[in-house]
Symmetry: C2
Subunit: 125 residues, 2 copies
């Protein structure tokens, strides 16, 4: 059951859970979005995203300068089912709402090109 243990270990980190939760709210996020919404470092965000990538939780693709990440929702895959369960568990957390709202705000701020430099520090599309 080593594989199962590794599966759960990949979920045994608060930052990774938050990242997955953000990607459930909105797929196709770049690293700078996640890093900004979570209020963390680029190094940390990127590292956890790579971790999730190698374990099959997310897929990535490049869009210009930005690396976009999204949930691996291949239909019928075990991951898809697991993600559903995970969503159910995370949604009952009090922080879930806060994070979701922060993400909305962040994405909205980026649509305003006259952002007051506080939001949208990066020029991620």
């Amino acid at each position: 059951m080593k594989a199962e243990a590794r599966l759960f270990k990949s979920l045994a980190d608060e930052t990774r859970l938050k990242i997955l939760w953000l990607l459930m709210t909105k797929d196709k996020l770049c690293v700078c979005d996640i890093m900004e919404v979570l209020g963390t470092t680029q190094s940390k965000a990127s590292r956890h995203l790579r971790y999730l990538y190698h374990l099959g939780w997310v897929t990535d693709y490049r869009e210009g300068v930005w690396m976009k990440y999204q949930l691996n929702v291949t239909p019928g895959s075990p991951k898809e089912k697991q993600l559903k369960l995970l969503a159910d568990i995370l949604s009952s957390s009090p922080e879930a709402i806060v994070l979701r709202r922060r993400l909305e705000e962040r994405l909205a701020a980026k649509d305003q090109p006259d952002a007051p430099e506080s939001a949208a520090a990066c020029r991620c599309s």
Copy 2:
């Protein structure tokens, strides 16, 4: 989401997963049974059982010399639902069958009082 991370961390260990799986097969196991079936140390088995106990996965009660452990299946509790999901995940592991068989053998051997000392090293009821 710290609580959720801790929840998954409690499942991020192979020994603990195996213990939970054994308890899904047969509730009310003593430490010596688990330790024997998993082929591990008493110290290790006991420690992980206490760990699972403190996180609400299992309950315990004393039966003479033996400490009996069983899954915490309080109806309607979150743990009950989580255990169902966990059972689903673990059952698809190749080791699941082996462990289940080993447990059956172990329990059967204990019913034979003329055990050849290899099985039933302890006199657990």
